[in-house]
Subunit: 405 residues, 2 copies
């Protein structure tokens, strides 16, 4: 049964925030760290590059020896050695001397610039140059990227591909990251059957939530398992109690309302504490959440669209924060192409198709109509203090893409 | 050696497009299909919902029997049965009769509306109602989401979580998707060593490209393996020839320039055809591409930032299109917070940190400075026909997030 009065969205979110858990860390090979979150500062063990590095293929030399050289006034230098990639030359370059050098190789002592091969010709050890370079040109100075001892990344940084490169350059081949939460999804409903091309028995419905919720969890970087139980107090209780042993978060779908067979919240109340049940939002009003064994239980609707919206509104931030990653809706402004009615005191998350300028909400949007989510790429959010918008009004939009890990 | 003249970006991209391959399809379990691309139309085997479904917990009844009911003028009906979720009731509702019904259950014959439990009281089989409902209210009509025979999704659709739900509802527990390409990454360079906290030998550099390129490939939904070979014509040739047997695409880093030990393009020319080498872009000029054994070979720079940009500019679209997915840069406009010089005839991809209004390019941007990619979240793209921008000008921006699978 709904608690006597619907909670406001703000109050419900606060109750979840107050019960936020953060995962412990683990040390993993760097190659597995992409899209994880740092649980330590990365302090470089090296200068990068570790030496003055040639940025071009050509000749290492003293820039001053090239001054005045041009196509019409070539100058002549002497080639005294050659350095391939990965090699080191301990010669010191003297006046009017040059060394053949490859991109990435250390510029030898005495040289301060690299002249590109394109501007030269050679005959034996005689180098003819047709262009000048200033000292420092085509040389990446030692430590120009990072210096030994620098904090190059902070704890709680999300590791994209570029951070992977930086962590490697800093000398880490293992890295401490926040553990992935293990989430158990318990799909309730006597009426649910697996997808089949055969005719479905009377009163049965295909279990689509297992696929949507599972995929949303993949988009949150977590580990998860899914099971399906009947609408029985005992079965739901057993499934939740068992899951509380092994998993960090429990999610259920179905059984959140008040009729015969809707038992999930009764179970949560029996084994733990209900934080809230029923929030003034649309879609997704029957959302509930509770705590048992010090773990969060989200109880989503059985209606597919309601369940997806509830996941976006209540669970994403919790799962991101558990892994040490910040998360807030990235709200942008768009012009509404249609009039949107709403109701004071209720926050609406209206499925919409939006582009760089406009938002057009999907018209057919019962909370069971999955097609409405498929046609959408965003929510228009209407605050509880707004009664809706006219065509042409500027509205708040959150793109689905911005919700993904 | 660079081919005599740098190709324009447009010409180089056209050469890649002309050699675009598309993967064959495979049939996989639906549960594994998230973030894959449909290789078939999805035609529904079912109506969804498969029956007139109650959208609320309450009482199924004839709407007309409730007309006029209110708090001050309650009406009385007779409860003749009860339907739990997943159950079916073959009774036909008569005048002033009602059946207890759960969300998701089929509305029985004779009933056309559901009155929410909140507006009722019961005593034995007597139902007292304090509100009226119109016919159709709180009922999700049969097939309101999808109808049997509807094409609900088309070939080439990217499967997000909501598409997963729709495909399940249509009755598919397996689905035909484009195969994932297998990509072999061959990192060349005598100078490269694995990340270590210990001091690194003279002239050696940590191999960071294996981590960045690997992670970028993860972001493109492909399968990949990485190896590291020396800058030897024979070693590179052997690695590429071996990879051509098993992989769909080859990528190399390093060895794309013209000095001693830079051999990758020589190998490509030896075993196949060079499409281009050297493109008028910054960073990333030494990019090359070729075809051998009818497979695409991308030859990226060894410089970390150049390699990342080359991947974004040349390889992402190819890998997306291989998997049946459309891809183009999503370009948005932002105000530049700084002056940006550029050069006519060259396309610049300038690392920048952009928000909803502004773009500020990263100042320290040598092609070896990984930190510059870490500080950035976007490219400012400067067309070859532009000479740069003044502070306050509107510039074209592509967010890194929009490049990801």
């Amino acid at each position: 049964m709904f608690l006597s009065k619907l909670d406001s969205l703000k109050d419900a979110l606060k109750l979840i925030e107050n019960n936020q858990k953060v995962m412990d860390y683990e040390e993993i090979p760097l190659k597995d760290a992409h899209k994880r979150v740092l649980a330590e500062d990365i302090i470089s063990f090296h200068d990068s590059p570790p030496f003055d590095k040639s940025a071009m293929d050509g000749f290492a030399l003293k820039g001053v020896n090239t001054f005045g050289a041009s196509q019409s006034n070539p100058k002549h230098l002497k080639i005294v050695d050659s350095i391939g990639a990965g090699d080191f030359c301990d010669k010191t370059i003297g006046e009017n001397e040059a060394i053949v050098i490859a991109t990435g190789s250390p510029v030898p002592e005495g040289a301060d610039a690299v002249l590109m091969k394109e501007y030269t010709t050679t005959q034996g050890d005689e180098l003819t140059i047709y262009s000048q370079v200033t000292p420092g040109e085509n040389v990446s100075p030692k430590a120009e990227d990072i210096s030994k001892g620098d904090v190059v990344l902070s704890k709680n940084t999300f590791i994209r591909y570029q951070e992977m490169g930086l962590i490697a350059s800093a000398g880490y081949n293992t890295v401490k990251v926040f553990k992935k939460p293990k989430v158990k999804v318990i799909i309730t409903g006597n009426e649910l059957v697996e997808p089949t091309k055969e005719e479905i028995s009377k009163a049965k419905i295909i279990n689509s939530n297992q696929y949507t919720i599972g995929s949303m969890l993949e988009d949150c970087g977590v580990i998860f398992d899914i099971c399906h139980v009947k609408d029985s107090f005992e079965e739901v209780k057993e499934a939740i109690l068992e899951s509380l042993e092994e998993y960090d978060v429990i999610m259920t779908t179905g059984g959140t309302a008040i009729s015969k067979g809707d038992v999930v919240l009764d179970v949560v109340g029996d084994i733990g504490e209900i934080l809230f049940h029923g929030v003034s939002i649309r879609p997704g009003k029957p959302i509930g959440a509770g705590i048992a064994n010090d773990k969060m239980i989200f109880t989503f609707s059985g209606q597919p669209v309601a369940a997806m919206s509830q996941f976006d509104i209540f669970a994403r931030k919790y799962l991101f924060n558990m892994q040490g990653r910040d998360f807030n809706f990235h709200i942008v402004q768009r012009e509404s192409l249609l009039k949107i009615p709403s109701q004071l005191g209720r926050t609406d998350f209206i499925r919409a198709f939006s582009d760089d300028d406009f938002a057009r909400h999907v018209l057919n949007r019962g909370s069971g109509i999955i097609r409405s989510m498929v046609e959408a790429n965003s929510y228009i959010i209407i605050d509880e203090n707004d009664e809706g918008y006219q065509k042409g009004d500027i509205v708040d939009v959150v793109f689905f893409d911005s919700l993904i890990w």
